[in-house]
Amino acid sequence: MFKKEEGDSIETVIGPSVRVEGNFVANGDVVVEGIVSGSIKTEKNLRIGPNAKVFAKISAANALIAGEVQGNIRVKESLELTNSAKIFGDVKTNVLSVASGAILHGKCSAGSDKKSKFEKLDEVQNSKPKTSAPVKNAKAQGLAEKVK
């Protein structure tokens, strides 16, 4: 996930000796090893280290979480929770991977499909063209309205 590719933008590293407060926005990859409160937003990858504490709303393209997060997480592509991860908040992602031992308290939504197979089947059946009788009824209704 965090392999360097050509043209990668530079990485922001929040080390264990600093605390960041506010709306943190980065254009490149972000590595958190310290304390962050507020929000974290990046268009690229986010890695939260095992000793990091994040009290923030998170938004990223990909994320690997090994530390503690208190706040909602929204990841566009892939979210990986290691065995030391502690999440207290809702999670929304496309691909979710959870290692055994990870703690997750909150609503979890993974995958791009929003509806189950049965719901889809129902939808297909409902969208089939209906018999001619209702059409006639509709015409009759129209006439009745005109008479009125």
Binding site: T12, V13, R19, F24
Partner: protein, 254 residues
């Protein structure tokens, strides 16, 4: 038209032979020009102002990092090209610019590869390489969006060029004076020298690329720009993209 500014320290006799050699080489290459010897009594800004009015387009500093950084602050205010012939001790900037020796510098000036680079600006002073802040209880406010508060004793540097202690950091990723950003580097002071070159210790450092920030502190803290000028907090620091035209060598580090 070239203007050669000789550092005050080059008045020492030990440099006479080297300077004569440099002057001969410059004449051979057809890039000779006016020579001025800097002194503490001479006002550099006035001198540059007069010479630029007289048609000088290129200023070459003959000296070390200190003299070069001093001239950068003035040269940035005028639309001139700046070059360096490293003479004397403490010539780290020359390495970054791809200049290995005084002789090499003459050839580089003749080849005239010009790069436009970003400069940092702290209040109204330009800086080329970096700013250092030692300790103190301070708060850094970045891009008017978030605050960085050091939790323990740290050494804070704001870098345009790659600092020498950041030997293992990927040069292409950080500290590029052409990328339109400056970097804050926060190093915990208790990391110890023995851990200095270990890769794991890098995780203890914090690095934030930024364009604009302010530094506040309860007590006034000294900030040293390019190892020479001292400015007190509070300060505003920002990047000024493509501000300076520099003559660089092929082996430059950016």
């Amino acid at each position: 038209m070239y203007l050669y500014l000789y550092d005050y320290s080059l008045n020492n006799q030990k440099y006479n032979r080297l300077l004569a050699k440099i002057e001969t080489r410059l004449t051979d290459l057809g890039i000779g020009g006016k020579i001025f010897r800097l002194s503490p009594l001479r006002n550099i800004e006035e001198l540059l102002n007069d010479e630029i009015k007289g048609g000088i387009k290129t200023i070459i500093v003959v000296g070390n990092d200190k003299s070069f950084s001093q001239i950068v602050n003035f040269a940035a205010k005028f639309n001139v090209t700046l070059g360096l012939i490293p003479v004397g001790d403490d010539n780290k900037i020359a390495k970054t610019l791809g200049i290995r020796s005084p002789e090499d510098a003459c050839n580089i000036i003749a080849a005239r590869i010009i790069e436009k680079i970003d400069l940092g600006k702290i209040n109204n002073t330009y800086f080329l390489s970096n700013i250092t802040i030692n300790g103190g209880d301070l708060t850094i406010e970045c891009e008017n969006k978030y605050k960085i508060t050091p939790e323990q004793q740290n050494e804070i540097s704001i870098c345009n060029f790659k600092p020498l202690f950041a030997t293992e950091m990927n040069q292409t990723d950080y500290f590029n004076p052409k990328d339109g950003t400056l970097e804050i580097l926060v190093r915990p002071l208790n990391a110890g020298f023995s851990h200095f070159f270990k890769k794991a210790s890098q995780l203890k450092n914090s690095i934030f690329p930024f364009k604009k920030l302010s530094i506040y502190s309860k007590d006034s803290i000294s900030i040293i720009t390019d190892g020479q000028k001292v400015i007190k907090t509070p300060v505003k620091i920002e990047i000024v993209p493509d501000k300076l035209k520099l003559i660089v060598g092929k082996d430059r580090l950016f």
